[in-house]
Symmetry: C2
Subunit: 490 residues, 2 copies
């Protein structure tokens, strides 16, 4: 795609509508190949942190990609007040048919469809009735499609990971800054009920000063290897033959980064990464496919489990794991700890040393009941004692009751009904539409997507060099120091 | 201590009984300061892997240190058939009084006591009626006491960690090889019921080929800071002011290393380590001590959470964590995974893809019962489905029933009654006495103790160098390649 950036009729036609781009913006391969050292510091005025785009009455969407993931986005956007779906693009007939079926079910006006060739999405981008595009395509398309979208004056809302190379990430940062268009990675997990509750608890200081967090994507997806002609496995499988680190870091990392004010008072400083042997995929292939099958010819090199450690400028530590191969239950770990205690996920649990009002009374009442039951039963031995942080409190109900994020407090039923990973997808789209209509900054900016996704290339670099320490670029170019902490509120 | 090694009357007196030491053994600071590069490869004949000492009718023990930890050892050894306690040494009056009380309670013959000065233990070592010494003293004494013990023809059974510097570990390796005396680190967690069951399951291939393991010591021990004049905290607290990595790595790591055949077909290759900020201890001190108290003058630099990643020669990965500061529940993680599934600890749980006979039938019977209940209750919706590896099986009873290690199968009641961390301490001493009486190699040799403890200095080195990758010495000097896997059997 980037080879076609600077020449050809497509390109000229495409650029017709892009008058707003500042004169000095470099377009084309020169940015794509520029290294980190060539980046000039941006001024605070240029930063996209807390950037607010002009308010929109309603957000008119174009969708690029309606496969496994994009179809969920389409359904949710069709259901959202304040959102309109104007155009849909996919090169796959079945995906496009699925999109049409979803539209028909909604009873809403038919959008225009774009298909037929890899660059059909550019025709969609030429429209002037689209405010934002949702990009749900194979990873190598994220950067060119996002850049094209922003240069066509559309906000780019792009699936995870933002991109797969540091150069591509820098390009997206620069184009977002120059075009003044949002480039948001759609990290839906940041909108999960537990993640938002913990965000709320962190902001209220319940964990004290944060010291350490853990996130993961542990999800057996070997069955995707059976997707040969279409589907996620038809392209993602090959990353297991080319990369050795964490190729999907953001789901576990995103919420931890928000808890820790990454790019807003703190930033990722350096990291190191280490992988296990790659055994599971070849074993699976030999069991599930004929010997002569292509899946048995591939050499899987990405270790089944990858573990990455990150150090932040404030000294905090983060563990991020990736394993989509091992036969074990799903987990994102989702652990955060500070000087006053910890929250852990899968299953959710809390342990706090100094208790906030409400919870303390709740524990006292619980103890009273337990002791009363114990005495009534005439039991002997040690009397039940008060709950402490030495054991996890796994009863989330008392925590939801007091610390549910306001969005979930008000919309839990709607979100769950709308669906998409238990409602987090709905919540994310609802939030984005709210922000774009009301002049509120999006919760995730291009620096966040870049920083979280940077583990993709950097973990590989570390793994292939005996886990050497690798510096993480500061995509904000210093602006993290002045930025105020993230708020997720109306 | 090592300053006194080569001179003085004490030293000469002490050497009187050490005629058996081969002429070529260097004694004194020359070894203690020699770097890794000066180590000559040992021949296979010299290796202490699977070393068998001459059988003993009964094992006559001397104990050095009867404080918080040594007293447990004393009580257990007093209760063990085939063990005799001949002598006890401690420089602390209260510890010695506790030891005397324990002996009195046992009704056994009074051992001789040694006390009065730091080197009183050498008087104990001069006796010729002691086969093995148990060393439970502050960490800096582990190396000199073990070396002195072996040179006095006693097996050294030494508390964790084996030592705190790589040079000290090398010295212990060399002295063990030259004196042909065991130098075993007393990693009791290897004898826990779950750890031994998992060892058994690993040996039976239930997890497939191992890829990744996790161990930890997450145990809030801030209260030890209140031990000022005596007790563990009176000396261990200072390591938090001097070291920045994992200062207590072996409890979580030992079992994982045994599962993975470390030093017996595989070995630790390199590691990297990263710490969180050190916040919890100073916060605790300011809350719990007067402003002018010494605990408020210390500068705590050891990050509250340390995470270390290890790569083995076979490519496997291990995560080891250390946190004795954060207010959160105890955990050793105790996770092992392979191509067929995983076991995790705290709480214990199993997930396997291909099920062994017995367990499969158990799951089928469970499903039949669940479906029958479901039908009887006239419920609607989705029929209960078979248990899979996508959720953890937390019902350990069916696993204990089939995979409990034979030692636990036969002695669980005795072990729990005898006590010591739920019976694991008893099991360890019983096992050691069994081995020494029956010509069976001890389960942990000097290379194991050294490799597991090497994280103490090496994690510090990595942490202070931006998590740089650090090579882990091969203490076996190549003998790991030929060594057969560990068996823990009669």
């Amino acid at each position: 795609m980037s080879d076609n950036n600077s020449s050809g009729n497509n390109r000229r036609d495409f650029l017709k509508g892009v008058a707003k781009i500042a004169a000095g913006v470099a377009i084309g391969p020169s940015i794509a190949t520029a290294g980190q050292s060539q980046r000039a510091p941006s001024s605070a005025a240029d930063t996209m942190i807390d950037f607010v785009a002009p308010k929109l009455d309603s957000v008119r969407f174009g969708l690029i990609g309606t496969g496994a993931r994009g179809l969920t986005h389409l359904r949710l956007l069709l259901s959202l007040q304040g959102a309109e779906v104007k155009a849909v693009c996919d090169t796959d007939d079945i995906s496009l048919a699925n999109a049409k079926e979803a539209v028909a079910k909604s009873g809403l006006q038919e959008p225009d469809y774009y298909t037929g060739h890899d660059y059909a999405y550019r025709e969609l981008l030429e429209r002037d009735d689209i405010d934002a595009v949702v990009i749900s395509t194979p990873w190598r398309w994220h950067e060119p499609m996002s850049v094209d979208a922003m240069q066509a004056e559309k906000h780019a809302l792009v699936e995870v990971p933002l991109a797969t190379t540091i150069d591509d990430m820098w390009k997206m940062v620069e184009v977002s800054e120059k075009t003044r268009m949002n480039c948001m990675m759609l990290e839906n997990v940041c909108y999960g009920r537990d993640e938002m509750m913990v965000f709320n608890m962190v902001r209220q200081g319940l964990f004290g000063d944060l010291t350490h967090g853990e996130g993961a994507y542990i999800h057996d997806l070997r069955m995707q290897m059976k997707q040969i002609a279409r589907g996620t496995g038809s392209w993602r499988t090959y990353y297991h033959t080319k990369m050795r680190g964490n190729i999907y870091p953001t789901h576990g990392l995103g919420p931890i980064a928000q808890f820790m004010d990454i790019n807003r008072g703190d930033r990722f400083d350096y990291m190191t990464s280490l992988s296990s042997p790659a055994l599971g995929r070849s074993e699976y292939a030999s069991r599930e496919f004929p010997a002569e099958h292509e899946r048995n010819q591939l050499k899987y090199i990405k270790g089944d489990m990858n573990s990455t450690l990150i150090k932040t400028a404030k000294g905090r530590s983060i563990l991020v794991q990736y394993d989509t191969t091992t036969a074990r239950p799903y987990s994102r770990l989702n652990l955060i700890q500070g000087t006053n205690g910890a929250f852990g996920g899968f299953p959710s649990r809390v342990a706090l040393e100094m208790l906030p009002d409400g919870i303390r009374q709740d524990y006292e009442a619980e103890l009273e009941r337990t002791v009363a039951d114990w005495e009534a039963a005439g039991r002997e031995g040690k009397k039940p004692s008060a709950r402490t942080y030495h054991s996890w409190d796994r009863d989330m109900s008392r925590w939801y009751k007091r610390y549910d994020h306001p969005f979930w407090k008000n919309m839990a039923e709607i979100a769950k009904q709308a669906g998409g990973h238990g409602g987090m997808d709905f919540m994310m789209h609802w939030r984005n539409v709210h922000c774009l209509r009301n002049g509120v900054p999006l919760d995730q900016n291009v620096y966040d997507g870049a920083a979280w996704s940077s583990l993709f290339p950097l973990s590989h670099e570390s793994v292939v060099n005996r886990s050497k320490s690798v510096d993480i670029p500061d995509f904000t170019r210093g602006a993290w120091k002045q930025a105020r902490p993230l708020e997720i509120s109306l």
